[in-house]
């Protein structure tokens, strides 16, 4: 009997231990996710808010031949469509995509459109996620508003691209859930006016809450008050609200935080490193005229860059190239040779315009074994018999050896850490000039226009609208501005007509057919596309 009792006690003990460890313990099944933070955990992390904002910036890298914000496919869409650039590369390469952009035969199935759509909405989702944490976070209100300002700026920026590409689009200003898959707000279009209103609200919040460049709390590479003012001014220019555009640009110009890289250093604007001009460093990444710039870096994961941006637009060989840099032999070409500057663009430059050589790599027609075009770092582009196209985009060039080497070494063409210039002070000056003309302040307009032309090594011309528009083209060539600019000016047929532009259709691109299909037909196509 006694032993039996002992065993009974044993069983009860074992069972209750089992119960405590497993069955009855409520916490047993609450196993947190390993190695990845949940929203709750992120909210508790003091650095989380700031990290989420960086995560939203990171969406600027979306590129390659996939989801894209400001990467290669954006160039292959808006620059190739414009009169600034041709598709480039070999005749068959990207014919069904960039090729259709080039001659305005673009249809809703061109993959870039879906990539741009998804890329921008993915970026917007990151922004909205960051905002939902930021709004609930409790810390220094100044810092909080600065971070919200940066994030809302990014959202405004992404919508500014979308509305210019597609017209009215679904306006998503909160974190989506799976249920939103069938939510009308996510599958029907909001009018472009409403989208612009949201963009203005976001930019205005950023203007009100961001520090001046170099001011307290500001970090070079993050957006600042000037950035937000510049984009807000640009939006007002598109909205033809010239007074506001003028006021905002004037505010930037008088802030003293931005200035043009001096003559004759235009080409230096697009290089990674600065050079000394009279003992003063000029140009390079985040130079004095940088308003907004994608920050690239070299890292082990090769993911702090916009993939293929430089490689996609790099000069393309038809026969083998060899370049010797010191003790390194570079074997091969520089890229796919897409988005090549058009002859029309080359002809648009006045004689002695220093910007021409800074914008276009001209391939020499003939020469000899060691002849060709020597780029600023000594890289030799052979003559036309070994090269696919006659011209290439110099602004996208990143030296394989004289600038930060790609993460997998100089042969790694895809991962070049190139900072993409999204807006420069030159644009601000030209907005200022245009707005000034429109509000009748020709004096101010002339000053702004002159500063641009003098920096390019050119004499003054009268500050007329047409002269300013002409100046915009050559100053901002190959920077993804031309197409939107011409549409804004209402000159689509006039400028792009010879390329195949159809009025009341090609002002915007078609809504991706994929998205229409996924919406079950609720998302309506732009006029003229079916």
């Amino acid at each position: 009997m006694k032993t039996k009792n002992i065993f009974l006690i044993l069983i009860i003990t074992v069972a209750s231990i089992a119960c405590i460890i497993a069955g009855c313990s409520k916490n047993f099944l609450d196993v947190p996710a390993q190695g990845q933070q949940t929203k709750d955990e992120v909210s508790k992390d003091p650095n989380a808010a700031s990290n989420l904002v960086l995560g939203a910036y990171n969406a600027l890298y979306f590129g390659g031949f996939g989801n894209t914000t400001v990467g290669l496919e954006l160039c292959l869409t808006v620059d190739v469509a414009s009169d600034d650039a041709d598709k480039g590369s070999s005749p068959s390469d990207q014919q069904a995509t960039a090729g259709k952009m080039d001659n305005f035969t673009v249809d809703a199935n061109v993959s870039y459109l879906n990539d741009l759509w998804n890329g921008h909405y993915t970026a917007i989702a990151r922004v909205n996620q960051a905002l939902s944490v930021l709004n609930d976070a409790t810390f220094d209100p100044g810092l909080k508003n600065r971070l919200i300002g940066e994030t809302r700026f990014l959202r405004g920026y992404f919508y500014f691209n979308l509305v210019r590409l597609f017209g009215g689009v679904p306006l998503i200003l909160r974190v989506p859930t799976i249920a939103d898959q069938t939510n009308p707000a996510f599958v029907t279009r909001t009018s472009s006016d409403s989208v612009y209103a949201a963009i203005i609200a976001d930019f205005q919040f950023a203007v009100d809450n961001l520090p001046l460049r170099g001011g307290p709390g500001a970090t070079e590479g993050r957006v600042n008050k000037g950035t937000a003012e510049a984009y807000l001014a640009k939006v007002y220019l598109y909205q033809k609200n010239y007074q506001k555009a003028y006021d905002l640009t004037t505010d930037i110009m008088t802030s003293g935080k931005f200035s043009l890289v001096p003559y004759p250093y235009y080409a230096q604007v697009f290089r990674e490193h600065s050079v000394l001009a009279n003992g003063v460093p000029v140009g390079g990444n985040n130079n004095s005229e940088s308003m907004f710039e994608v920050q690239a870096a070299k890292n082990n994961a090769c993911d702090a860059i916009s993939k293929l941006y430089s490689n996609g637009q790099g000069p393309r060989a038809t026969k083998g190239w060899i370049n010797v840099f010191g003790n390194y032999t570079y074997n091969g070409d520089l890229g796919f040779g897409l988005n090549t500057p058009s002859a029309d663009l080359a002809n648009a430059y006045e004689a002695n315009d220093t910007r021409k050589a800074g914008t276009i790599i001209f391939v020499q027609p003939t020469g000899g074994a060691n002849a060709g075009t020597f780029l600023w770092d000594g890289f030799r582009i052979p003559t036309q018999d070994s090269v696919q196209n006659p011209r290439y985009n110099y602004k996208a060039y990143h030296s394989p050896v004289a600038e930060t080497v790609a993460c997998n070494g100089p042969d790694d063409k895809d991962d070049k850490p190139k900072d993409i210039r999204l807006m420069r002070f030159a644009d601000v000056l030209l907005i200022n000039a245009e707005a000034a003309v429109q509000i009748g302040n020709t004096g101010a307009a002339q000053i702004a226009l002159d500063s641009i032309r003098h920096r390019a090594g050119l004499a003054s011309v009268p500050a007329t609208i047409n002269n300013i528009w002409k100046e915009r083209r050559v100053e901002l060539a190959m920077e993804c501005d031309r197409f939107f600019d011409v549409i804004r000016q209402g000159r689509g047929v006039q400028v792009f007509g010879p390329l195949g532009f159809t009025a009341n259709k090609n002002e915007v691109f078609p809504i991706p057919q994929n998205q229409i299909d996924l919406s079950g037909g609720k998302l309506k196509q732009n006029p003229g596309y079916n």
């Binding site: 089992a18 497993a22 609450d30 990290n51 990171n58 879906n114 998804n118 898959q181 996924l518």
Partner: protein, 1135 residues
């Protein structure tokens, strides 16, 4: 109600009575116990008792406790007796018994070994059969398999209530036996044997293992059951059938043996075969069954030594598997390992040695064929130049690249085991060493296993069991996708290796030399795995047992990958140049630690109320899993293997990574078995599973099942039936689940390390998730018939099933505005149906004294269909062709989605006349000799929209026929397996690189190609570009295979006695002897799991990649390891 029991069938009734299986075991245990306590025959033992008005049962158990006497009785006899009062002070047992039984209707008889048998009667000791001239019979009982002495065999005199049991040496003695009596020898798992005494005083008896399955014990999860008591669909395979086959994993040996169980094995060493029980039941959550090894749940059984397995029980229907709830949707395979038997120590050695070779190779074009074909092809592109310089033929090279990378490989397997036991401890210790080299060079595998299974009888109530297994596996892997892929593509004009220098295929055609690739890449995985279980079983009362089982599974995996440095120069290659080089050496090391523990606690109650038998199991289980990975990488590590540590590399090149996983599961289980008179059986199961992988509000799932069976043959009206020895109808319904989804997939998790320039690392929530994600739920109905006819020589089983998976996981593509970065959301939106019929027949008989044989055949028909999928899940990506499989609604999972070839254009007129209804020429760019594709949508052009679904890898029928013959000391067995109705996408053929026009092709493609003089309609003209995905690449995947053939000879026991050897059998066996198939690739049997999945061993995170599962891309033959044929010589030795 009361069935009269004739004394002559007392024992038999005992065995087949309504006493449950446990009772029978109890008897067996008692018998063992008695044998050890009885020192010398009839005892004069004395007992003291003081019991007032207690049940007879209590009295008996008290005597059992206080003496060495044990009672043997049918419970119904004792339970109906009046209460007893007895006082005895140190009285002779015999007189005590007399007092007790005097007023009862019970007869008792004291047998040898102090066993007292009770039966209905008058209450007197049965008188000794004094009148008969009786003799004393002694003898030994041994097993026909292995010749070892059998302990605990019941030896009874037919028609009389007397008997005994054999001792540890298999010996028995029976007194008072008439010369005319017949002795009945019976033991669980053996054929019952009746031997007339016929005046012999010594009888040596050999028992055959039972082929009658009805009384075999089947493991059903948290318990066992006799096959005749089953209500669900369970197939069992004995360890002996597994061990005889020279295969690495036990599941491979299961192939063709169980109806409805499809085994897809690979020729690669250390591969875990894909197993599909009743079709493919999931797309994204894994379709392999759950394995339960001695109570420990696992997905990988490559650590288990086949020689250690006693049985494998395959639970097929939902009512059987429901006890495993949320893990059970794909079926459950329960593996039970060997334990020691009480008795003399037995030492056995089993060994095989053999060779492996590729069972079938694809014949590639030789130099001349190759050169001629490519140059002919170049003419079609308007070229007048030869693409291949014909002067190269003068070099005389005609390389067969498969010859260059393949070999005959060694297989060797050695197992030694020691087992035995006493009344207190049973032990089983085994060690195994396996060398199983791959047929691809440098692909070697070695495995050492050690197992110790012990049982401790602490008291008559308490038993402890420990099962410990350790395995150490070392796999030297090769990258098959590059080695085999390049061997297929490389030109025969370049030699593989001459005088230590490699042929440079890369300069010639941009394909790496596969031999060099194998030589310069080192990839070793070392897996140490400890699997252990400890069980405590306590009989609280006669009818109530508590069981606590703690299992652990620790897996330590280390992978080292080293890439040797070499340059495309003349020290390495015969001719320098090209891009096959490794300018810098790299070392990558991965360490994965996985551990899990599982703790089950159950209570089992067995009660009988009249003819109603109840057995109730309730319990809890808890399980926890942890995983941790560490990865390190550096370049520039010296080539000497002694330097392969990260510290010797360049620290500027270092990379590291890591990840982890954790989950837990908590479950409650309940099962009620009820039967009435052994005729009507009901099993009801309920399992509640809580999983940490799911959100708290949906984490609990309830998985019920009920099953009923009717033993028609037990009915009175069947008494006179001569046809059926046994006939049972079964019906079951159940719900089970599959929660094999990544941990925390329902949570929105931040992606970290999103660097932005030099500003720092950001994080982001990048995906939209389904917060209500849950397990897949399978509902299954099963109808079955089991029967046995012709004196149990023929047994058969038929099962009909209908298995519907609801809420099957699928990736839906969200609208872009949701901003989901990976553009897929995992959710429970699809359904999968599998329905079919399974048939199994087993015939076993003896012919004369010397011959015995068996044949079994099984066949299963399955229909698979997915539904509820809006777009279809595309997979099977072939470079240049896109996705070639699609899992859409209304079709089998992973159906091929390709263009349909209508024939070959024979002339330009054919091309011009091939128009759609609007008169548009459909293939204007074609030339004669090109394929003519069907313009399915009639739009006048061949586009991706013209693709159609043309079948899948899933067979419609699987079958196996197995047989064996024993003649005297010779034995022969054969196993076959086949499938029908499945199709294969010959992706090797399809994977031509458009940029590389110089790839080799199969000899048949060259020989049969269309030319102006060979106007075939099935093979296109010579071409150097890739063809689009079409039915040309979809081939018939049906096959029939002679899986195993074994011929053995057991040396006569007498000849071995001097050497103290109890058994010696020698045999030769061939595995995968011959395959009959129309498929032109290496093998119709392969799993399309991405090559080198072994590098992800133990990694639960790898399951998130759908292609890794080999489900939605099943049948796409891209980098298949050639199946192997193995010839072995083997030896079974027993001491």
């Amino acid at each position: 109600m009361k069935k009269k029991q004739h004394p002559s069938v007392f024992w038999e009734n005992c065995a087949y009575s309504k006493i449950t299986r446990v009772m029978k075991l109890t008897i067996a245990i008692m018998l063992f116990a008695c044998l050890h306590v009885s020192a010398g025959g009839f005892s004069q033992e004395k007992v003291s008792l003081d019991l007032q008005s207690v049940s007879l049962k209590k009295v008996l158990s008290t005597i059992e406790k206080k003496s060495s006497f044990r009672f043997l009785y049918n419970e119904s006899i004792v339970s109906n007796q009046p209460a007893v009062s007895i006082v005895a002070a140190n009285e002779d047992v015999k007189s005590v018994l007399h007092k007790i039984f005097a007023n009862t209707h019970i007869d008792y008889k004291i047998l040898d070994n102090n066993l007292i048998v009770l039966k209905e009667g008058t209450g007197a000791e049965v008188a000794a059969e004094a009148l008969s001239p009786n003799i004393k019979v002694t003898g030994t009982v041994t097993s026909a398999q292995g010749g070892s002495p059998l302990l605990g065999v019941s030896v009874t005199v037919k028609g009389k209530g007397i008997g005994t049991a054999t001792d540890v040496n298999g010996n028995f003695t029976l007194n008072n036996v008439l010369e005319t009596d017949v002795l009945v020898f019976s033991s669980v798992g053996f054929e019952t044997l009746e031997v007339p005494v016929a005046g012999q005083a010594t009888m040596n008896v050999v028992l055959q293992t039972s082929n009658r399955e009805l009384d075999q014990v089947v493991v059903v999860g948290y318990g066992t059951a006799r096959r005749r008591d089953l209500t669900g669909a369970v197939a069992s395979i004995k360890g002996a059938d597994l061990a005889s086959q020279p295969v690495l994993t036990a599941t491979q040996a299961l192939q063709g043996k169980a109806a409805g169980v499809q085994i897809i094995s690979s020729g690669a060493p250390n591969s875990n075969p894909a197993v599909r029980i009743r079709g493919t039941g999931s797309m994204l959550a894994g379709a392999n069954p759950l394995y339960v090894v001695d109570g420990v749940l696992t997905d990988d059984i490559t650590n288990i030594n086949n020689a250690d397995i006693v049985t494998m029980d395959v639970l097929k229907d939902a009512s059987s598997t429901a006890i495993y709830g949320v893990r059970a949707a794909n079926g459950v395979i329960i593996i039970t390992t060997k334990k020691g038997r009480a008795g003399k120590m037995q030492i056995s050695y089993d060994g095989t040695v053999g060779v492996k070779e590729a069972a079938h190779l694809v014949n590639m074009a030789g130099s001349k064929q190759y050169t001629g074909y490519i140059n002919e092809a170049s003419r079609y592109y308007g070229s007048t130049d030869d693409l291949v310089d014909t002067t190269l033929l003068k070099n005389g090279y005609n390389t067969d690249w498969y010859d260059a990378i393949l070999r005959q490989a060694l297989q060797q397997n050695n197992n030694i085991s020691i087992s035995g036991g006493s009344d207190k401890i049973n032990y089983f210790l085994s060690a195994g060493y396996l060398i199983d080299n791959g047929i691809v060079k440098n692909n070697d595998f070695k495995r050492f296993t050690l197992r110790s299974n012990n049982e401790y009888k602490i008291s008559s109530k308490l038993k402890a069991t420990t099962l410990i297994s350790f395995s150490n596996g070392i796999l030297d892997d090769v990258d098959l996708s590059s080695a085999s892929g390049n061997a297929y593509r490389a030109t025969p004009l370049i030699p593989s290796k001459v005088n230590g220098k490699y042929g440079n295929t890369s300069t010639f055609q941009n394909v790496g030399n596969p031999v060099l690739d194998i030589d310069k890449n080192y990839n070793r995985g070392i897996d140490n795995r400890l699997q252990a279980a400890a069980t405590l079983e306590y009989k609280i009362t006669k009818w109530l047992t508590f069981n606590s089982n703690l299992g652990v599974d620790l897996d330590f995996y280390k992978n080292t990958q080293y890439k040797y440095q070499y340059f495309a120069d003349s020290t390495v290659f015969i001719q320098s140049g090209g891009n096959q080089q490794q300018p810098v050496s790299t070392l990558a090391m991965t360490k994965n630690d996985a551990n899990r523990w599982i703790w089950d606690n159950t209570l089992t109650a067995t009660k009988k109320f009249g003819d109603h038998n109840f057995r109730l199991l309730v319990g809890t289980t808890a399980e926890k899993f942890n995983f941790n990975r560490l990865y390190g990488y550096r370049q520039g590590v010296p080539a000497d293997q002694s330097q392969w540590y990260l510290n010797t590399g360049l620290d500027s090149t270092q990379k590291n990574n890591g990840s982890g996983d954790k989950w837990s599961r908590n479950s409650y289980i309940g099962r009620l078995n009820y039967d009435y008179k052994d005729k009507y059986l009901i099993t009801a199961t309920l399992r509640a599973d809580g999983s940490s992988r799911l959100p708290s509000y949906t984490r609990w799932g309830y998985f019920p099942s009920v099953a009923a069976a009717w033993n028609i043959s037990s009915e009175d009206f069947m008494k006179d039936n001569k046809t059926f020895d046994y006939l049972k109808l079964r019906a079951s319904w159940g719900k089970v689940g599959n929660d094999n989804i990544p941990s925390s997939a329902f949570l929105n998790l931040a992606t970290s390390n999103l660097q932005y320039g030099y500003l720092g690392n950001g994080i982001a929530f990048t995906n939209v998730i389904d917060p209500n994600l849950k397990w897949e739920e399978t509902e299954e109905i099963d109808l079955g018939v089991d029967c046995s006819v012709l004196e149990k020589r023929l047994t058969g089983t038929v099962d009909l099933y209908h298995k519907k998976v609801n809420g099957a996981l699928i990736n839906i593509v969200p609208v872009g505005a949701l901003g989901d970065q990976d553009n897929i959301i995992l959710t429970n939106a699809a359904s999968i149906l599998n329905k079919g019929i399974e048939l199994g027949l087993n015939w076993a008989d003896k012919v004369g004294k010397d011959w015995s044989y068996y044949v079994n055949a099984n066949v299963a028909f399955n229909h698979n269909e997915a539904s509820g999928i809006p777009v279809g899940l595309a997979d099977g990506n072939i470079a240049g062709q896109g996705f070639v499989t699609l899992s859409p609604s209304g079709q089998p999972i992973a159906s091929y989605n390709v263009l349909k070839v209508l024939g070959v254009f024979q002339s330009q007129a054919d091309i011009d006349n091939y128009k759609n209804k609007d008169g548009k020429v459909i293939q204007p760019n074609a030339v004669p000799g090109d394929f003519k594709y069907e313009d399915k949508n009639g739009d006048g052009a061949i586009t991706a929209d013209d693709r159609q679904l043309v079948g899948s890898y899933q067979p419609k029928v699987i079958y196996g026929i197995n047989g064996g013959v024993n003649y005297k000391n010779f034995d022969l067995s054969i196993g076959t397996y086949g499938t029908s109705g499945g199709k294969i996408y010959n992706a090797k053929k399809a994977l031509r690189d458009n940029a590389n026009q110089l790839e080799n092709m199969e000899s048949d493609v060259v020989t049969n190609r269309w030319t102006t003089v060979n106007k075939t309609n099935t093979e296109p003209r010579a071409s150097v570009t890739q063809l689009p995905a079409s039915t040309y690449f979809v081939e018939n995947g049906s096959f029939f295979r002679i899986n195993n053939l074994t011929i053995g000879y057991t040396l006569p026991a007498k000849s071995l006695e001097k050497a103290k050897i109890t058994k010696l059998r020698v045999y030769v066996a061939a595995q995968n002897l011959a395959t009959f198939t129309k498929y032109k690739g290496f093998t119709p049997e392969f799993s399309s799991v991405t090559a080198q999945a072994s590098a992800l061993k133990g990694d639960p995170l790898s399951a998130t990649n759908q292609s890794n599962l080999g489900i939605t891309n099943a049948g796409v033959d891209a980098n298949t390891y050639p199946t192997v044929r193995t010839w072995v010589f083997g030896l079974n030795l027993g001491f």
